[in-house]
């Protein structure tokens, strides 16, 4: 674990944040409302320069930043891509974000990047592999990371761990923290017929450094059962707000991100989502 430094943004505040979209640059500087910090997808800021990097430098003087990777493939069977690890180290090195997180998922096979967060079974073998990869990431990047719970559309027959036990054990072996995506909890529980409250009650809350909230789409499987899709393209659903309220009352305030990546709305709509999270956070102030 890292010591607090003199950098003013060495940790995310227990306020709402939003996933940064370039169309909101001016709004964020002029009227951030309840938004206290920003998250970026690491891979969008790995170019050599130009506007993306310039905007990021500017915003990081005003807001605490979270770097959220979507391309490291920590759950992949192959070795981590050393070039990508080096790019991540470089970004985290100059930006000095308050937080760095990645997913319990895979996206690269051999040299092929599939641009989706693909699922893995929960077994002794995958646990060792993920833990080894996280050790390597934390070693190379030089800081502790948070690992995010996935949204699941299916289950692996070969799994022998509950997801909460799997995450707890990875954190124990590697010293990493966890990112609790409350929408993912709701999506997975609905899709796999499990209980959200039992999942939250079993989740190691003391390790949670950040919470994610997002909207989902509704579909159905072959048997007419609900199949929720983690689409990040609309407002957070009512039952997810209710679950978030439960999490915050159980765990206390945490940095809470509104993710809205597709059909991105005008600033007032996104800010209203953040304001709603702020009201829930204030109930446990």
């Amino acid at each position: 674990m890292l010591d607090a430094s003199s950098h003013p943004f060495d940790r995310l505040p227990n306020t709402p944040g939003v996933g940064y979209k370039p169309q909101h640059f001016s709004d964020l500087l002029e009227n951030p409302g309840s938004v206290g910090w920003l998250e970026i997808h690491a891979e969008n800021y790995m170019g050599d320069g130009g506007r993306p990097i310039a905007q990021l430098r500017h915003l990081s003087e005003r807001f605490a930043m979270s770097v959220h990777g979507v391309g490291l493939s920590i759950g992949g069977e192959g070795r981590l891509d050393p070039d990508h690890l080096a790019r991540l180290k470089n970004l985290v090195g100059w930006l000095k974000p308050a937080s760095f997180s990645e997913h319990l998922a895979w996206s690269t096979h051999d040299t092929e990047f599939l641009n989706d967060l693909l699922p893995l079974p929960y077994t002794d073998e995958t646990l060792t592999r993920v833990a080894d990869h996280i050790d390597e990431v934390q070693e190379v990047v030089g800081r502790r990371m948070l690992l995010e719970n996935p949204s699941s559309y299916l289950a692996f027959d070969e799994s022998t761990y509950e997801e909460t036990d799997f995450l707890r054990e990875i954190a124990k072996r590697t010293g990493c923290g966890l990112l609790l995506d409350v929408n993912n909890v709701f999506v997975s529980a609905t899709n796999l017929g499990t209980d959200t409250i039992s999942y939250i009650d079993a989740f190691p809350m003391d390790l949670v450094g950040e919470i994610h909230l997002a909207g989902h789409d509704e579909d159905h499987d072959d048997h007419g059962r609900p199949l929720l899709i983690d689409s990040h393209g609309r407002e957070v659903a009512e039952p997810v707000w209710a679950l978030y309220d439960y999490v915050i009352k159980a765990a206390g305030p945490r940095p809470s991100l509104i993710e809205w990546d597709n059909d991105v709305p005008d600033w007032p709509i996104l800010e209203a989502e953040a304001a709603r999270a702020a009201r829930i956070l204030e109930t446990v102030g």
Binding site: E43, N44, M46, G47, D48, G49, G50, R51, P52, I53, A54, V70, G71, L72, S73, G76, E77, D81, D83, H84, W106, S107, T108, H109, T111, E112, F113, L114, N115, D116, L118, P119, P121, S152, Y153, L154, A155, F156, D157, E158, N191, L192, G193, T194, D219, D221, D222, H223, R225, L227, I229
Partner: protein, 250 residues
């Protein structure tokens, strides 16, 4: 039944392939079309990345055809890096060989221009020389010097009217006529701008980019176009922060 990632991946990019056995709905039934969520995510997200990269190609072939083209492209050329900002570099070659587009000879060069604009957007920043630096360098010395051009500068030379096609589709320009066009992509600050080069301009920039001295670039340009106008070219470059150093010829 163990589903390894090779099996998962094989079924992911082939819609006609059997879904892997060993995946369920969490309540004992086979996963069925739940697996297709991943198939759909991969195909849709990569198609969107290509739509973002190639807006002019999309307009030229139409939205429906572009989706078909993207579907074929992403199966033939899945990304080799997590940086979606660089996905699609093989598009010019693909368009030249793809049966439905191979008779449209100008498409690959339009794709090259679109790639050049995107590369320029993400290229490194670099401070330009003082606007007066060319005048204050003694002429003999200047002629023997090399000019370093900004990392965000790109040159696209084409036997097709690529600039006119770009302008017609993106900026409401006039209908393209059948001319060969050399296009310079420059980034004065953060927005890449395609500029149609005057006669000789393509040869001039190409020679400068090779690291040759200014005098050699002028000779190459004059061979290409007798009415080559050096001061016009230098005005284009200086006005758009595109010269970053005056160097000694090797």
């Amino acid at each position: 039944m163990i589903v390894d990632q090779t099996t998962f991946r094989a079924a992911l990019l082939s819609p006609e392939a059997e879904r892997p056995i060993g995946l369920s709905d969490g309540e004992g039934q086979p996963a069925g079309r739940r697996f297709d969520v991943y198939r759909n995510n991969v195909a849709v997200s990569l198609t969107e990345a290509l739509e973002t990269a190639f807006p002019v190609i999309r307009k030229l072939v139409g939205e429906t055809n572009f989706k078909l083209l993207a579907g074929a492209f992403l199966r033939q050329h899945p990304p080799s890096s997590p940086l979606m900002m660089f996905y699609g570099a093989e598009m010019p070659r693909f368009l030249a060989a793809f049966e439905p587009t191979k008779s449209l000879g100008y498409l690959p060069d339009v794709a090259r221009l679109e790639l050049a604009i995107r590369e320029s957007y993400h290229a490194a920043d670099a401070a330009p020389i003082e606007p007066t630096a060319l005048q204050t360098t003694p002429p003999d010395k200047l002629m023997a010097s090399t000019l370093s051009l900004a990392p965000a500068l790109r040159l696209v030379r084409s036997p097709w009217p690529v600039f006119a096609l770009w302008q017609f589709n993106m900026a409401g320009g006039p209908k393209p006529e059948a001319n060969a066009e050399d296009v310079l992509v420059v980034r004065t600050e953060y927005d890449p701008e395609p500029v149609l080069l005057p006669p000789g301009g393509g040869a001039f920039i190409e020679t400068l980019l090779s690291g040759a001295a200014l005098s050699e670039a002028i000779s190459a340009a004059s061979r290409d176009a007798q009415d080559f106008d050096l001061s016009h070219l230098l005005t284009i470059l200086i006005g758009r922060n595109a010269i970053t150093a005056i160097g000694e010829s090797p």
